[in-house]
Symmetry: D4
Subunit: 230 residues, 8 copies
């Protein structure tokens, strides 16, 4: 992305032109989230201010870095519930709790930020979850010890980088929907998550579905669609 020095000073004039998709919850059961990665610090602060003042319901912010959070709070004193590892913030609380539960399985500590993004998004959507970290297949017993627990979940999110073998192994052990999230951990042949992505897509376990690299948010939304469908 291009640098966006000075972005703040012009957005002010056009902030009223932003079109927040207020109807989305009605259409698809989830509100529009604000993805902060490609937005300047100033933009995010203005968007938060705009949403605070316009009285929308709960809004989720993803990929909000500490600087963006600080700027938003400084500008509008917004009541943001911010969690820094997952880089998520809730504005105006979260959605009503549902009677639903999701299991999240992550291969290693490096995959934790993505797993937490999924968990926080689920929490925002009113869905409880249980996180299992450090169960990569190099120490297979760590996973096998939990198979019975995993089999009791209605949906599983599997988060893994590098070879992403965990998704195939889990997919062969359980019958519930398995949403695989490749992560950008690793180096060299891990190719910033592309290898994990492709390995999950080419998984020998049938019916595993996949999201974008590092997209814990998307996995949680998919889980919410599934739980709503049942």
């Amino acid at each position: 992305m291009r640098s966006t020095d000075g972005y703040v000073k012009t957005i002010g004039e056009t902030a009223d032109r932003l079109i927040y998709d207020r109807d989305r919850t009605h259409r698809i059961g989830m509100p529009e989230a604000v993805f902060c990665l490609d937005k300047s610090v100033g933009d995010v602060a203005l968007i938060v201010e705009h949403l605070v003042s316009s009285g929308v319901g709960p809004v989720l912010f993803t990929r909000m870095c500490q600087l963006q959070y600080d700027a938003a709070v400084n500008r509008s004193d917004a009541p943001l519930d911010y969690e820094p590892v997952s880089q998520t913030a809730f504005l105006n609380g979260s959605m009503a709790e549902r009677n639903a539960h999701v299991g999240i399985v992550a291969a290693g500590t490096s995959d934790r930020p993505v797993a937490l993004e999924a968990q926080r998004t689920l929490q925002f959507l009113g869905i409880a979850s249980q996180l299992h970290i450090d169960v990569g297949v190099a120490g297979l017993w760590r996973l096998l010890d939990r198979v019975e627990e995993l089999r009791r979940e209605r949906v599983l999110i599997v988060v893994a980088g590098m070879d992403a073998a965990l998704a195939s192994v889990v997919g062969g052990l359980v019958g519930c929907p398995v949403i695989a999230v490749p992560t950008s951990t690793g180096y060299g042949a891990a190719r910033n998550g592309e290898t994990a992505l492709n390995a999950m897509l080419a998984s020998c376990a049938q019916g595993v579905v996949v999201t974008n690299i590092d997209n814990g948010f998307g996995a949680a939304c998919a889980a919410a669609r599934i739980l709503a469908a049942t």
Copy 2:
């Protein structure tokens, strides 16, 4: 793949070593399917014969070309229910019908073989489906005319190649689980389905999940996992 001339003559000696995963239906609710694309004509015939004689339950064959089907029937007179566009065959019937329904939406006629693979797999798994073809976004009204019908489905499979814009548009219109299947239709920048795959993964519609390119089978299995979870 390497050519495999003569494969038939040696597989005979080792066919008894093939390990069909008979326990899979118990573990994940679906039997192991036999993927024929990388297998020689003779191999497929031998595997069919072996499965016929060993008395397993219903088995699905995918990517079975006409030559493989002919060889299998010639060798063992197997009761295969073969459908040539989807390149699928059922051995020993199919699974018990479930009270479940899936919508399949395909952008154009070129995507039809993949859409049919999904439909046939669903049929094998006991799940009814409705196929909507030629609803690509270049003629948006064709899709908008059917929105209400699509909103009544519990799961949607969206099949599209080239720009794969259909997945994003559908994902923004419905709240049920959306399983996107990229196809290898198109040329040049379509990159044999990679562009559709990446566009679906990077979709602006939240919670759309994706399968491998041309993987109608995988999409149907994912739908079955979802319907079983509900």
Copy 3:
């Protein structure tokens, strides 16, 4: 690009060797623009000084970052009209206004710097424009509400990243020339804009043409060529 520490101190000796293409407006109807991205801060300042002193007509600078702008103003007190979000500057004013209008459609706030580069370039070329932001297809009604307005434009520039589905949808709704600009927004499978680029090139909407990733300048120049041709 290699780092270019110290570039300033040697360019001074050779600045008189730079060959500004003064004849370009005569040949193609637009002056040569100075692309600053791969140039050092010192180089840009020297080029500005050189152009100021040599008495050329209006010159457009693109991808000029704040540091380059500051250095140029410090060195030569050049009368630069700088806009920081689009990173554009006008030297010696702009070209004569034409009786022409262009519509610019951008999928989201993250695409705004590119859309503004197009708008500022059009302004430099004497062409008025209207900018429509936040009309991505995940909330399709935002676009459909404006179709009649868009159909009245003689040229449309469509700016979108990630899945770039907006270009296909717009291309199927209007008959005027559609210039699609992919942006580098998104992450993972968005592949720094390559997915949007390829999706636009493989668009199912016939006759959509494409520029380089993030190239708002090029889209505006193409629009100017079209408007001059009419």
Copy 4:
């Protein structure tokens, strides 16, 4: 693409489900074209038969190979105007002639099928054109001899493979809209047209726009959009 043996025998049952976008000429000024590359021989024959019997206006078929043409004529005795080098066919004549003209410039003989696809599509859309072949930059005088002629065109389509340098040179010499079509000629580093595509996108000539690799059809549609806009 998967093989589609036997495709013919099932499409018959569903041909009535094909949705030809009859409204497209009204919306965008051009009818829907039928792209035959990813369709089986039998499918194309059925689509031709279906369109013949349903009484639509002029229809263009692109990437129709000789086998598909023969099958279509055998089945329905359709009045197809077929040209084999461009692999195009007109059903029910072509659109009304417009008072418009386009220049097509192609680097070498190998690029001729793509240039002819553009020319035939223009002819179908009622637009005359002049084709200039073998004017690649390795013999620059061949192009320079024709500059004045090219400058008189309202739109230029430039077709080139390998290094695609022709697009940049032409783009620097004329002020009219330049639509660049990369071709898949060449080998090795030509990468099946990707190098030409990227070189055209990264062209140093401002305002050159680009279509998909080998997409003469798309370039002609873009030219028609431009000529309609004027």
Copy 5:
């Protein structure tokens, strides 16, 4: 590769110029093998004839297709021991048997040609082996049932395509050298074996080493180097 029609008729004149590396067994413990994939049918026949007449010791031919084998036998009546699935041939017998054993583990039937190339190469090098097929991780029990047997091997070769998860799981279960061979089985995101290759290189199991895609020959040679080192 370029087509090489007529290759036979000129190679005859220069066959005496071929330099077979007779010293290789002395230097590295294995003779030079003849890789037939990029050679014409006639070339292979001439090379066989040349080696037969020049009295070398045992020679291994890899990637020799049936046509090449037939031509070689027709021309020189060479005493080739040919195995068609692995596409290997032994000329003048094989090397002396060593007191050594290797385990070969393959994920599925589609990986069998590559596994057999490894097994035949080992046999040529005088090394016995045991082949385990159809032990992919989607049915994990098939592998776990054999762990004790695998732990008794001094070297393991793991052959797998698609997600290649088998290499990571095996690498985490045994302490002996693990040589991973990616195969080109699969489609789409399997990317002709690149995904398996990268997943094996990025494996979470420490100390797994990798060969080229489909390179059963190389894996066997590596095993021979290891067994010779002990």
Copy 6:
């Protein structure tokens, strides 16, 4: 490339429009060559006929397959000197002999077609050469035995595929110009010659220059430029 069935029947009408660059020998010291790979059988025959009848000097055809050669001879009884392994043909003899010599070094038998294309092109340009085949670095002594001979050449062409290590080793042993030609031999990670190409470009031996993959013709032309410059 698209298929070009029927190409012959239309080229006849436009063959007089082909512009052979008769001035090229004057400008750059070498005539234009006709590259046949992307041309149909009929096109090549027509071009040969056209050149025969128009009385040009010597012309080189490259990548001319046997079918194209047969068609050309059948149509115009052209006096073509054809060599099938290199796929080259001379029309109207060759250029005057120069007092110059080039060494060609090829790693293995599989690289021979490319090495012969270089040798035949040199012969056409009047330059003698010596070919050294089977000197790949896996048997380093084969190369070291010839170092003194190679050091006496004024230009060396090095032809190698796969790892292309030969170019670096030769480049470190001699001081004359080294033109490296990557070949598409190998499989998997050889990536159709891209690995050899990149390895040659990234060679640790300084001043090695590189041509396109399999481009023996280009290497010979570069050698001719060098020899003419001296």
Copy 7:
């Protein structure tokens, strides 16, 4: 990877959930190592503290940068033996010395950090080694001078970037196991180590095995597996 500001403050709550694979030495002869590259500074400090307090045996940390080391020492006063070039640290000493020796050969000074990672990992595993640097093939005599010395090693690790020709040359000179480690040195066509990786995989020297780019740790573990197997 996403930024992980603030990671420290939350990991504290879950550090007790980390599952260190204590059984790994029993299973595969080597303990689990902690890979620090994708972990935040705070995470690494917490993991060190956790391992110190829980009384495990020797632990190796790889890719630990100076900041991570400083934070770990500040927090827990851990007895870390840190070496900054290789970015490795030993906690609680190292494994018992084995009677084993490995040769490490590196092409140039730039490859030294990776070579040292291999050497330090071997030292941690109780294995002595000898490092040979600056023996790239551009100055072939530097390698040839040491051939006899290299032939006496039981295992060789070859570390090289750019063209990676060193691996092929060494592989053709010695018969012991050769573990090739590509490095990310070089620029442009070196493609961050991919070219070296592919060249090593496609090596003309038979039986060379390969690790991930820059993976000196993996090469050392592979050597340890080999030495344990003998």
Copy 8:
């Protein structure tokens, strides 16, 4: 590349192990150059000190950044002749002047650092040169005005990024050796110089040879090899 904090403190112990290839000038006519890009600041300073104290002849350093230069001068007071734009330094002067001249042609100001690296390397090798900047093909007259001047050179180096069309145009206008250097200027589809590289390799101008991206040093060494060969 991995970070190499602390590299300085360990290299001291092993600096005596560096093997400078003193024999290279004798073998290939040029001394070994020290490539600084992948070396730490401390390493470069130590290497300079080592070379100063060991009394070698002239040594060229390339890609030496200002920090490395400052550290080297601080440590050893080495008599380095440093030029910051080209990032080159001469130690102990340069080689004897030859009676030779090279022309360097660069498309734009952004390509100047690479062009200067070529010029400085030539100067180090005793070869005079003339630099022509800002002659890109978008303003073709700038190049055509200089054709006669360029035709008088014995060797031409052409430096260009983005579409790299300049190399093809120059290659078609002159008969001397043309060494093309792609640069990493541009963005998006320029792909960090890969597009320029591939376009130069696939150039329609026969006999153009190519170096790595941004490799002005290599181009100058190739020119020196050519001039020495004459």
